[in-house]
């Protein structure tokens, strides 16, 4: 993208928004529609199935979910800190905050995977519901949280790549900021997933 990127850099854009940032906003818009469609499907199927079983007890599922929520929210905070430090030119501080964000993201994914493994261990599948009732409980749970977890894990990888490039000077503070936009969006999606998929399914 060398020459057009250079062109964009040499001439201020009419909206003062660099192309990459605009691009990530467009990606977020599309991704929001994707999650919106998934959650719409979930709501539709839930209403259509009177035999919908609520699988989650307060302990351990909801408590675990609350913990995950706090972790992900905190990771957004560390991401903001990383962005601010990178904009002030404090590379090592920014890298530390990026590392903290990655650690929190990885912790979130680990807790989530542990929960998945426990559910699978007690007989939950995409197509089977051990409590009886509609099998769509597992189908919607695994597909929606799976898509979200995919976003979290890719986010951790991307933050790592951006962090390494930022240390070597290949990437700038604007890259950190754009990665942050994505990360906050993943966080925001969880703010919909947690109440709709967990809290509404509390026994």
């Amino acid at each position: 993208m060398s020459h057009s990127a250079a062109l964009a850099a040499s001439e201020p854009s009419p909206y003062q928004i660099p192309s990459r940032k605009l691009g990530i906003w467009m990606f977020i818009l599309a991704d929001a529609a994707t999650f919106g469609a998934m959650l719409f499907a979930y709501g539709y199927l839930r209403v259509a199935n009177p035999d919908w079983n609520r699988p989650f007890a307060f302990w351990p599922s909801i408590v675990n979910g609350i913990g995950m929520t706090v972790i992900l929210l905190t990771s957004s905070l560390t991401m903001v800190a990383a962005m601010l430090e990178s904009q002030r030119g404090r590379t090592s501080a920014a890298l530390r905050w990026l590392g903290a964000t990655m650690a929190l993201g990885a912790l979130f994914a680990a807790l989530h995977l542990r929960e998945w493994v426990a559910l699978i261990g007690s007989g939950w599948r995409l197509f089977r519901n051990p409590l009886g009732g509609t099998p769509l409980v597992g189908a919607t749970f695994f597909s929606i949280t799976g898509l979200h977890m995919l976003h979290v894990i890719s986010g951790v990888v991307v933050i790592g790549v951006i962090g390494l490039g930022f240390r070597r000077g290949r990437f700038t503070a604007s890259h950190v900021e754009i990665t942050g936009l994505y990360w906050h969006f993943v966080d925001l999606v969880w703010m919909f997933v947690f109440p709709l998929v967990y809290l509404l399914n509390m026994r």
Partner: protein, 582 residues
Amino acid sequence: MTAPAHVHAAPPQSFLRKYVFSVDHKVIGRQYLDLALVAVVTGMVLSWIMRFHLGFPDTAIPGLGKVAPTGAAGGVITPEYYLELMTMHGTIMVFFVLTTAPFAGFGNYVLPLQVGAEDMAFPRINMMSFWVTLLAFLVLVAAFFIGDGPPLSGWTAYAPLSAVGKDAGPGQGMGQTLWAFSIAIFCIAQLLGALNFIATTLDLRTRGMSLARLPYSTWAWFITAVIALIAFAVLMPACILLILDRVAGTSFFIPAGLVLSDRLQPHAGGSPLLWQHLFWFFGHPEVYVAILPGFGIVSHILPVFTRKPLLGPRVFIACLIAIAFLSYTVWGHHMFLSGMNPFSATLFSVPTLVITIPATIITLLWIGTIYGGRLRFTAASLFALGFVSVFVSGGISGFFLAQPSTDIYLHGTYFVVAHFHFVMGVAAMFGIFAGTYFWFPKLFGRFMNETLGKWHFWLTLIGVYCIFMPMHYLGLAGNVRRYSAFTDDYLKPLIPLHRFITIAALFTGAVQLIFLFNLFRSRFRGAKAPDNPWEATTLEWSTSSPPPVDNFGGRHPVVTHGPNEYGVNDGRGRDYIMQAAD
């Protein structure tokens, strides 16, 4: 603001970088157009086989028995094979022709030129978007060769037919899975493309190119990209859920108690209507993805050949934006027949009628532009005028289909086939043809043959009216669609009309050979074209034909005028003013 330093990469030297894995938007645009050409020929051949069978149900097609030994043993196609052809025809045409050519193809080539940019905002993502589209096409076409043939659930892939496996019929095993993967892959490609179009339009405009001075075709591609961004983002998860139903045993779209091929399907709780909602939430905006670039091309071409400014350019843009918003509120009108609460039906009927208002206003703007103009009849302008004709002809039947009470009778008939082929198929094709004749000199520095182009236009215009006008009568007479033959029921008296349509379709298809001949011959033998052969105002005409790798040869055009300066006196004996002084 100082003029930006002249920065552009050295032109790529190797063959692969230059013509195959190029990041140049012009090469990518041509690759999209080439892909669309292959796809449209494939799709048209499929429709010929279907049409032939409808007109001559007992006559064998020579050689077809060898190509499809199970689907057409002895050359006469089976009902299942008819549905397979129909599915592939619809899928190829909607996704790989009507989306790929007018939006991704011409948009890629022309949009960066029209805004005065050196390339798209993200050239590498642009290249990836094309190769992912090609992959999607290959995955789809593979259904012809792998397993037991292509799927038969239609381009809409209605569940549960599409969601259960082999038990649902031939092609519903591997074929339908390939279909779902192909469309999911296609969604990714179009999302990348749409994102690129939006960023390019907003960010890479040259100096002086304010939004108000943006050419109308660029406006149309921009709005189309916004529509596509949301629409394909919804179709993709729908396809993922469909794939899960097919390969992972979920029941998103499959209800309980379904018995197919004497086997109780091991599914429960899903909703076929959910698929229809998700699909049509994409599907209706998708028809605007197919037709809005045509709106833009026609609004771009008509002023050039009437030597009059486009009437009401701001109204035109406002109407495009209104259509974009409304396109997300009307999807339920595809589902009146699927079992819908009458109150919901009204809820979808009203915006469907409302969306005809901006479309009608745009049509009136075109007619107002033509009125009193000094028309120059070229192949490009004829196809632009033809676009208006077929769009009106196809649009009028839309009023009847927007009302649930009449739609319930007409929806399952050829009336709907006639409607959508006219309004999104033929009209979009006319837009593609107009764009081809118009921009060919820019793409290759040579003219297409005008005489052949005019013959192509008139014969095609007559042909498509002979094909699709009678279909309205078939539909009113109750002729159901999706059936492979009508030999032994109440529809038998309509066979002569089917035969007439078939002959018209074969004729119209043959006429396209004139276009193909013209296209390939003019590429090498056409008369040399100057930089601005049509005396147009927009930036793509102020560079050489074909444009250099960086589009403007290191210059950065400074825009001083809008795109609509026709029928004026520029003081130098010309009746138009270029957007950037030359």
